[in-house]
């Protein structure tokens, strides 16, 4: 296990915000991906200990990226970060082995708690 995180979101502002909170919580952000395809590629090359994954993205959505990554690495720890209206997709993600989900817009504190708890476990 490592404390390296990959941030996947097509919105830069989201990536910045998550990066900021992750870094404050002691995580090293090893990469940022803006599409599902990129996420899969970066996951294989970087082998991060944790991934935050948006759902609605161009070029392969978060669900497909999750499915692909989990197939490549059954121990992949992926947390979905998504808007409230993605309930069905989130349910699918849970079945696909996402370790958690965070609803956008998120509280800083909530995400911080997440990173801190995950940090303790690794």
């Amino acid at each position: 296990m490592n404390n390296r995180v990959l941030i996947v979101d097509d919105a830069m502002i989201m990536r910045l915000r998550i990066r900021e909170i992750a870094e404050q919580s002691g995580w090293e952000v090893v990469g940022e991906a803006a599409t599902g395809q990129q996420a899969i590629e970066m996951y294989t090359s970087l082998k991060p200990g944790l991934v935050t994954m948006d759902i609605v993205m161009p070029n392969l959505d978060g669900v497909e990226a999750l499915r692909a990554i989990r197939t490549l690495d059954t121990k992949a720890r992926i947390c979905m970060v998504s808007a409230l209206n993605q309930k069905e997709k989130l349910a699918e993600c849970i079945q696909l082995g996402a370790i958690d989900f965070i609803v956008k817009p998120f509280d800083k504190a909530r995400l911080q708690t997440f990173f801190e708890r995950q940090g303790r476990q690794t």
């Binding site: 989130l90 079945q95 370790i99 909530r110 995400l111």
Partner: protein, 802 residues
């Protein structure tokens, strides 16, 4: 009990400091809200939505305090939360002594947040804790009922010990555990979170039982707790790792072994089992309908009515939360405000300079006349060269002409440069206009950021009124209007104390006892109104009671006792004038000095405090019908839109709100009413006041070498009179010249110099000169005082002559 909750998300102390301010602010707001709800509960102790709201508030204070590592607050709120948990579930009822205890706890919490704000160490609250715990223990008596609940709650497994025995036979390490998951308030998609946790827990353990049941989870609207009974070989840490997902506030894991299950599980379990049902605003569980009569009322009551009652509260809460906010240290805003103020001063300076430059660059101004001159020179030079014959000695002259021509050429070139300058100047003017717009916008923007509604301030008085009226045994209805009216944050902070004083006074001295009220044909309960109204650049705050009004006779008596005025002085005063003596230092008419409204040191201090906020306070009273205090505050302390005028040699300003109109008065139209100069404006007589009636002006004027008689001689037969008005007073002030309107950045004289009665502050004008801002209310008062004194002297003179 405190060992039971382990807030694993504790924060290192250095990081804590960063969040302390936020915690203090948030907690104070939550405490305010809590008091509001508690007061509602006092009249309606079984209101389920209010019990829930109280629980929620206490719970979130507890959560935040635990995160901050503030043990004394966490501990107290934990016990309070327990208590409200039992109230919610109907096990206990809210009685008066308990309410007093809860309010005491709130006071303790408030005091603690104040201490945190001031950087003082927190003290613990052993007395309150003891008292709370005593009540917890003493009321935990109906053990029979709890046992019944316990059995009813665990219908799925009749006896927990049986499966364990089976499990033990299968594997030594297989342990039965219970996960109690407390969710954050307002978590999104709770049913999905539950599903997530179950999915993940299932990877590590066999789930034997669930509360709430699976089929109910899908339809929950609000999920507070989820209990999962599992059989597993995994460690607590492993379970925690998967179950502690985002949105889980607290996770407790109990090991259920056959020995302790009886005792330990019952104690916690009983409350929890009850807890789950009321928090789920969902269809009633079939098993719960068949509960024994003891438990039915609290269990079934919440389901339907609560859903309908709570729905609107949720939506309004949702709407409020849409607005994203940032908490900012008020000192930063002060700094920004000051800078915006400086910018306004600078802008005025630019405007002034541009105005001066416009003389130079005007088409018909300097540039034009220089151009004319150059043209004329050129013309006469041409004439000269045409007419004169070229003789020998005129070769020299020709040379001169050439020189002159070159000079004219240079002049014309320079004029071109000047013309360019003129164009730049026009651009500069445009830029200044633009700058003015931006600085106006900035100023408004900065002001806006400082504005907060008076609602929370007013709502705090619900508690004050409750306490005081209880102590004095008077029943008082507090009516609040205009709570959305906004006021500068700093003023809201400063207003608390004076308002408390006025409210106390109103209840203590203003409102009569119930017996007296009855005999006067008034409703037994007095009404106290707090109202905020927006009026131009001011906010007016009314503190109104329907009590006995100011007793003028009592005031007269006291005034004479204290030697504040003489009987003959009082004789000439109207009731209104006499009631103004309440503002005198050391004045008090309370026959019994009570703890509540202090010892007669109040009203003058109230007035001083309001004045420090650049505000004014006035009192109106109708004997037998009530008293109204009106506080007028500027929207902001820093920038005041004012009318500028000249009085003799000095520049003065009056806040534009106080200027009713400007009239031109012929000297022969000034009439004398009761020995006072007055003017008639559309049938209304308004006292005309000279600045000499307000200030000791003579000395300054002589120092400047101006003789008053000269000024009088110079006066035309017209003079401009500004009609200044306050809430109930008017006066005309004759001025030497009017100088227009400006936004003045007001600097306090009190801070930099000394307080001068009649002046609200000073400001620097665009040309760098100083302008004094009049405090209209005290100016009018001063003028009245002076005139009264003069009147008295005159009368004495007449008396001695006759």
């Amino acid at each position: 009990m405190s060992d039971e909750f382990d807030f694993s998300s504790g924060m290192p102390s250095d990081e804590m400091a960063q969040y302390l301010q936020m915690f203090v602010d948030e907690t104070s707001e939550q405490l305010d809200a809590l008091v509001d709800v508690l007061l509602v509960l006092e009249t309606n102790p079984s209101s389920h939505s209010d019990l829930n709201e109280s629980f929620r508030l206490i719970h979130s204070i507890k959560g935040a305090a635990a995160m901050m590592g503030l043990d004394s607050i966490t501990l107290l709120t934990h016990h309070l939360e327990n208590y409200f948990e039992r109230l919610r579930s109907g096990i206990q009822h809210l009685d008066r002594p308990m309410m007093q205890l809860i309010l005491k706890c709130v006071d303790f919490l408030r005091e603690s947040t104040e201490k945190l704000r001031d950087g003082e160490p927190l003290r613990s609250s052993p007395d309150l804790l003891d008292e709370l715990m005593n009540r917890e223990n003493s009321q935990e008596v109906p053990a029979a009922a709890e046992n019944t609940l316990d059995i009813q709650g665990s219908t799925e497994i009749a006896k927990p010990s049986e499966p364990i025995a089976v499990a033990e036979s299968l594997s030594e390490q297989l342990v039965e555990k219970r996960l109690i998951i407390y969710f954050d308030r307002n978590i999104e998609l709770p049913e999905l979170k539950a599903e997530l946790i179950l999915t993940r827990v299932r990877e590590l353990a066999e789930i034997t039982r669930l509360s709430p049941a699976m089929q109910d989870l899908a339809s929950v609207v609000e999920l507070r707790t989820l209990q999962i009974w599992v059989r597993t070989i995994r460690s607590d840490a492993e379970l925690r790792a998967v179950a502690e997902v985002v949105g889980v506030e607290l996770l407790e894991i109990d090991a259920i072994d056959s020995e302790s299950s009886g005792l330990h599980a019952t104690e916690v379990h009983a409350t929890d089992a009850v807890d789950v049902a009321p928090t789920l605003v969902a269809p009633v569980l079939p098993s719960e309908v068949s509960m024994p009569p003891v438990a039915v009322p609290p269990e079934t009551r919440p389901t339907e009515p609560v859903a309908s009652v709570e729905a609107p509260t949720h939506t309004t809460e949702g709407q409020i939360k849409v607005v994203e906010t940032v908490r900012v240290d008020i000192q930063r805003l002060d700094k920004l405000m000051n800078l915006a103020g400086e910018l306004v001063v600078n802008r005025a300076r630019f405007v002034q300079i541009a105005h001066q430059m416009s003389e130079t660059f005007k088409k018909s101004g300097l540039l034009g006349s220089l151009r004319d001159l150059s043209d004329q020179l050129q013309e006469s030079l041409l004439e000269d060269s045409k007419t004169a014959a070229i003789t020998h000695d005129q070769v020299v002259k020709q040379e001169r002409r050439l020189e002159l021509q070159m000079g004219i050429n240079t002049l014309q070139e320079q004029l071109q440069v000047l013309e360019l300058g003129r164009r730049s100047f026009l651009q500069l003017n445009e830029a200044i206009d633009q700058f003015s717009r931006v600085s106006d916008g900035l100023q408004r923007g900065v002001l806006d950021t400082r504005m907060v509604p008076v609602g929370p301030l007013f709502n705090r008085f619900k508690r004050t009124v409750r306490d005081i009226s209880g102590e004095l045994n008077k029943s008082v209805n507090l009516v609040i209007h205009g709570e959305k009216t906004e006021l500068d944050k700093r003023m809201i902070d400063e207003l608390g104390d004076p308002l408390v004083h006025l409210v106390r006074n109103a209840i203590d001295h203003g409102l009569e006892s119930e017996v007296v009220r009855k005999s006067r044909g008034k409703p037994e309960a007095g009404t106290l109104t707090l109202e905020a109204v927006h009026s131009g650049n001011n906010v007016l705050i009314y503190i109104r009671d329907d009590g006995g009004g100011i007793n003028v006779d009592k005031i007269k008596k006291r005034v004479l006792e204290r030697g504040i005025a003489t009987p003959s002085e009082l004789e000439n005063m109207t009731d209104h004038e006499i009631s103004q003596f309440i503002w005198s230092p050391g004045f008090s008419t309370a026959e019994v000095v009570s703890d509540i409204s202090g010892r007669g040191v109040g009203m003058d201090i109230v007035k001083t405090r309001i004045r420090e906020l650049s505000g004014t306070i006035e009192v109106h009273s109708v004997f037998g019908q009530g008293t109204t205090f009106v506080i007028r505050l500027p929207l902001t302390l820093a920038i005041i839109r004012s009318l500028l005028f000249q009085l003799n040699e000095g520049m003065f300003a009056a806040p534009i709100e106080n200027v009713r109109e400007i009239v031109s008065v012929k000297n022969r139209d000034i009439i004398s009413v009761h020995g006072r100069n007055s003017i008639e404006v559309r049938g209304e007589f308004i006292p005309l006041i000279d600045i000499e009636d307000v200030f000791d002006w003579h000395k300054t004027r002589y120092a400047y070498g101006v003789n008053p008689s000269d000024v009088a001689a110079n006066e035309t037969d017209h003079s401009s009179v500004i009609i200044l008005s306050t809430i109930n007073k008017k006066m005309g002030l004759s001025v030497s010249a009017l100088r227009g309107c400006e936004n003045l950045v007001v600097k306090s004289l009190d801070e930099n110099f000394t307080h001068i009665q009649g002046l609200a502050g000073a400001s620097i004008l665009g040309d760098g000169s100083v302008c004094l801002l009049l405090d209209i209310v005290s100016c009018i008062d001063l003028a009245h005082e002076r005139l009264r004194d003069r009147h008295r002297v005159n009368r004495k003179r007449i008396e001695s002559v006759s």
